[in-house]
Structures are given as C-alpha cells and as structure tokens.
C-alpha cells in the first residue's frame, strides 16, 4: 500500500512490514519489573491479527508502544517500516495522527464534543492530511453512513449515544485519516454478544476497504474466530512468562 506522506519508506524489503519489533523491553518508570520483553515479532502489512492477552499480560503496554504513546526502554519498534521508537516526541505524535487509528475499550470520544467535532479533531491533528470545511463534513457523513449511523448524529453530543454507537463513532474517528494501522484495545468489552460480532465484522470490513493493518487485542478468546492470525501475548512476552508481572 502507498505510504504517501512518510519521509523515508523502507525500500529494500519487498513486502513492507506493518509492524516489526526487535528486542523490545519495557519497564515503567516507577516499577522494578519488566512489563514487556519481546525478542522479535513481525506482522505483514494489511494483515489483521488477533492478539490474545489476559489482563496483566502487558497488552496495553504493547499497544502503547505500537501507537508511539510509549517508548521502549530498549530495542526498536518499527511501524510501516519506520523506527518510531527512535522518533522525537513531536514526530511520534505526528506519525500517530497520520498513520494510526486507535480505538479504546471505552471513553473513546471527548464527551463535550459533537460526533462531527470528535471526528474532525482527529483530522485536524493529522495536519497535512487533514481536510477542512465542506470536504471534511462530506467525509464524516460518508463514514457515518458506512458505519450504519444516522446522519443526524453529526451534531449530537457523544455522551448521548449508546456505547455501541459510541464505539462505531470511534471507528469512524480512527478511519478519518485513512490510517495504515488500526489499533483496537478491547473495543468490544462493553458490548453484548450480538453487537460484538457485528462490531468486529464491521471493523474487519473497514480495515480491508482502507487496506489497513489491523491489530485487535482482547482477553476474550472467543473473538479469535473472526481472525486468521492469532497471537498469544503470554507466549510472546517473556516478561509475562516469567510470571513477574501480576494482574
């Protein structure tokens, strides 16, 4: 897929890796123990992967590293061929806003902003790729339609929506900048079984339409059936295997 605005694209590797972790270790500032220790992990571009991780397995840390919200204590994190672990803070923020869409478990949206403003904010922070005015409204409308949300939701405050609706708005927000990587952190944990399956199907469809790499993390193993690649974080994370990090 074209990584349009990135400054340096990985030219030598033929199929660009979506994610490439090498010797990544992470320890929180005030903690004695290693939270994450991954020797090597790679994910091809445009793939969808389900990462199974019970609480305490270091999944939030892993996602933080992938999103560039955290920096590893040692090792390198490459996303879309770029070593974001070696970026400066502002560079990482910019990279995240332009290439990565994040969907959290809950509280995805800013409660005092309307649906439209929430999505527009994501577009604003991406800078160069950001749309404005009519074009933006048009795009937000398309996304809402695609996600099966009525158009009159645009002006609604997000705290008036049901959780299922909020999570779909969160997908719209993640998709507004046509991200190369979508990171979803337990986005379905607050949904009932039916809504959960619909949500995952929708997310997978959208990721495919936008040819985005999708990393979906959950402690709920039953969701693994929707994905063709499944990774057990406990097996991957040496720090968790040692049993050092308790829940």
């Amino acid at each position: 897929m074209p990584v349009s605005t990135t400054t340096t694209t990985n030219a030598n590797a033929a199929p660009t890796l979506g994610v490439d972790l090498q010797g990544v270790k992470f320890k929180y500032r005030n903690s004695q123990q290693m939270t994450l220790n991954i020797t090597e992990w790679q994910l091809a571009s445009k793939e969808s992967v389900f990462i199974y991780g019970p609480s305490g397995s270091g999944k939030s840390t892993l996602l933080g590293l992938l999103a560039g919200l955290l920096v590893p204590t040692s090792g390198s994190v490459k996303v879309l061929g770029q070593a974001i672990s070696h970026f400066k803070g502002a560079q990482r923020d910019r990279f995240r806003s332009q290439h990565i869409g994040v969907i959290f478990q809950q509280f995805n949206l800013i409660p005092w902003l309307s649906v439209q403003d929430n999505i527009a904010a994501a577009s604003y922070f991406s800078g160069a790729k950001g749309l404005s005015g009519e074009g933006l409204i048009q795009r937000v409308a398309e996304l809402l339609q695609r996600l099966g949300l009525p158009l009159n939701f645009m002006g609604r405050k997000t705290d008036n929506l049901s959780i299922g609706q909020q999570q779909r708005v969160a997908i719209a927000r993640a998709l507004i900048n046509k991200p190369d990587l979508i990171i979803a952190d337990e986005p379905t944990s607050a949904l009932d079984a039916q809504a959960r399956d619909d949500f995952i199907k929708l997310l997978l469809e959208c990721a495919a339409e936008y040819s985005s790499t999708l990393i979906f993390v959950s402690h709920d193993k039953t969701l693994a059936k929707h994905f063709n690649q499944v990774v057990d974080l406990q097996a991957l994370n040496l720090a968790a295997k040692e049993g050092g990090h308790a829940a």
């Binding site: 919200l69 923020d93 995240r96 806003s97 959290f104 800013i110 005092w112």
Partner: protein, 407 residues
C-alpha cells in the same frame, strides 16, 4: 482548534465555570473599583482649591487648618480677630483675601460666611473660577448662595428662604428662625465640598448672632437695625492671594510670627499633598487586600481546574491518541483558565461601569467626589495585565499536571 476546543470544554462545564467567573469577577471588580476611585479621588482631591497662595487660621496643625477651611471637616480650635485680619490683609504683598467664617449649618450642610471676594477670587480645579447656574452672587445681608448639591438635595430654587441653625449638627435645636435668608443664586457643580456649602455674607452671620451669648438666643428676637454695625469681631480663617508668588514664604513667615495673636499660614498645595500621603497609606492597604482577594480567587480557579483533572484524564488520553502533543494539552488547560479570567475581567469592567454610572449621583452628593463611569483607562490596564499574568502562573500547576500525565 485550541480555542474552539477550550471554549467547548468550558461550555460543557457551564455551572462550575459560571461560578468561578462570578467569584473572580467580584474580586476583579473590587480591585478595579479601588484603583479607579483612587485615581479619580486624587484628582478630585487636588482640585478642591486652586489659585490660593496661603490659608491663614489660628495656630493649629497644618492638616487641621486645611480640613476645616477647605474640606469643611472638623472645627477650628480658635478664631482670628477681625483686627488681625484687617492688619494682615492690608500688607502690601497681598492682592486679595477671602475671609471664611464657619460654625453654622443648614439641615446638615455647612454654612460659610464670606464676602463677595469669594466669588471673585476663589478657584478650584485648574484655576476655574466659581460660576452660578442660576441667579446672582449675594449682595445684601440676608442673601444666600447655595452649592449645587444643597439645592438639589433640598429642592431649593432661587427665591426660597431658609433658616440657619446654630452649630453644625444636622438636628440643631437652636435655629436662627427670626432671620431667614433668601436664596439668590445657585452655583454650578464643582465636584468639591463647595457643592455642599451654603454661602452667606459675613454681616449676615453677624446679624443673626446679635444678642446671642454662648450659643443661646438672648436677643428677644429683635430684627437687626439697618444702621447697626455688623462688622464681625472675629473670623475662622482667610485665604490669601499675593501679588507675586515670590512673596509667599516671606508672607508666611510674617503670619507665623504675627505678634498680636498666634496664627498659622499654610500653602494649600503642600498641605494637600501631606493629607494625600496619609490617605495613600490607607489606600495602599486597600489595594493590597484587593490583590490578595484576587489572588485567592485565581488560586480557586486553579483548584477548580485541578479537581477536574481526574475526570478529564480520559479526554486527554483521547486527544493524545489522535495525535495531540502534550504541549497542546498544557496549552488547552492554560487557554481555558485564561478564557475564564478574560470573561471575568469583561464582566467586572461592565459591572463597574454600570455601577458607577448608576451611583454617580450618590457619590457626588454624599462624598462630593465626581467619578467618571468610564473605567477602561490606562490606569486599569496594569492590574488587568497583572491579573492575566498571575492566571498564567497559577494555571501552570493544573496544566503542568495534565502535561505530565499525558506524556
């Protein structure tokens, strides 16, 4: 984006924000009111007397003499004999004198006995002479000229007659009821104690006191005869205009060393500034208190912001996830605080202007100070600027916390 986000975030917390705006604007209101009134009062204050070279009274403190002769506050400790007054006013350096005789009142307003020279030579503000808005200056024994406020408050017009009371209380039992005065003129407003003064002639005061002894009427209510000698035996003080300013200190020394009775001559300008310095102490304390109140309100603002930090963690997280820099979050909190303070300032300025506009009359009539309702002068820009600066400093705490948490 930063501003629209900050604005929407404040809107989402209307009630807390409104209360904070009210509490801060009250403290800013107090601060600006003190600052504004102090500057206007100072101008007013120094405007009370002008063009008078010296004020002469019985020997007392310089402030006491100034207070009773110019501000009609307090009482003279002693009088000047008429002979001494004549002797001093006939000195060759003297261009003119205005005799002042105080001690009577009319419904709480002081009565000043003087001569026509008062209307001719007395000046206030920047050498502005007195002017009459109605009628004429007094020319006969039982004629009176009112200050603007006396006429307005008591609803007098030219042609009405008034009775003076002995002493200066507003409820006096000894009235000079057999010798009413006719109002012949009303002065234009001056913004000085003159507005609250009833002016009569010295011989008028002398006439109504004929036959009185120690404040008791023993006159058997006789009308004074027209051929009677109405030269007073003493006056309270007098103002002096000299032919040349250079003679001021010579003449002052002459008065202070006057043989026949102990007298004091003061330079009004110097006495006024000494009085102002005393008032300045008080005013500085007031200013300091109002700054402290404002500081407390601004710390309250920062407490309010800090208290909101916990519940706002998620929204900062979301902002970070969609690419906002930690600096953006720092600025968001700062801009919110500044917006609150800017609104408070606007509310305070509006309220102060409206309040002064409404109370203009009252301030003028009760305190004799004219205060302009226009508050946005360069003198309040400093406190406003300083307020914004303090806001930035006190909001560093919540903004810094938000910054640290979102890193």
């Amino acid at each position: 984006m930063l501003h629209s986000l900050a604005w929407k975030s404040l809107l989402a917390r209307k009630v807390t924000v409104c209360l904070t705006v009210i509490s801060i604007s009250i403290s800013i209101l107090v601060l600006l009111a003190i600052q504004h009134i102090r500057i206007d009062a100072k101008t007013n204050f120094t405007n009370t007397v002008s063009g008078v070279d010296l004020i002469v009274g019985a020997r007392t403190g310089q402030l006491n003499l100034l207070l009773y002769s110019v501000f009609r506050i307090g009482n003279a400790t002693n009088n000047i004999s008429w002979d001494s007054y004549i002797k001093l006013s006939e000195q060759k350096q003297v261009a003119w004198t205005i005799p002042l005789s105080l001690g009577d009142s009319h419904k709480g307003f002081r009565v000043l006995g003087t001569t026509e020279a008062y209307f001719e030579h007395f000046q206030y503000a920047n050498q502005r002479p007195l002017a009459l808005s109605q009628g004429r200056a007094f020319a006969n024994t039982f004629e009176a000229v009112l200050g603007r406020d006396v006429a307005r408050r008591l609803g007098y017009k030219v042609g009405d007659s008034i009775i003076l009371a002995h002493g200066i209380g507003s409820k006096s039992f000894s009235q000079h009821k057999h010798n009413p005065f006719t109002i012949v003129g009303i002065l234009t407003p001056t913004g000085t104690p003159i507005d609250q003064t009833v002016h009569v002639r010295l011989d008028g005061l002398e006439a109504i006191h004929k036959g009185w002894q120690s404040g008791v009427d023993l006159s058997q209510h006789r009308k004074p005869l027209s051929n009677q000698d109405l030269t007073p035996s003493s006056i309270t003080a007098f103002m002096v205009g000299l032919n040349t300013k250079l003679a001021t200190f010579t003449f002052q020394r002459k008065v202070n060393q006057f043989n026949s009775e102990p007298l004091l001559a003061i330079l009004p300008g110097i006495a006024l500034s000494e009085l102002w310095r005393m008032m300045a102490m008080f005013e500085k304390v007031l200013m300091m208190i109002s700054w402290l109140v404002l500081l407390a309100a601004l710390i309250g603002l920062s407490t309010m912001m800090l208290a909101a930090m916990r519940e706002r963690r998620h929204e900062f997280m979301v902002l970070r996830a969609i690419g906002a820099r930690p600096l953006f979050i720092f600025l968001l909190v700062q801009v919110e605080a500044l917006l609150i303070v800017v609104f408070s300032i606007a509310a305070a300025v509006l309220a102060l202007s409206a309040g002064l506009w409404l109370s203009q009359e009252l301030l003028m009539s009760t305190f004799g100070v004219s205060v302009s309702p226009w508050t946005l002068s360069k003198d309040v820009l400093m406190p406003i600027g300083l307020t914004l600066l303090i806001t930035i400093v006190t909001s560093v705490l919540p903004a810094g916390l938000a910054y640290r948490d979102s890193r």
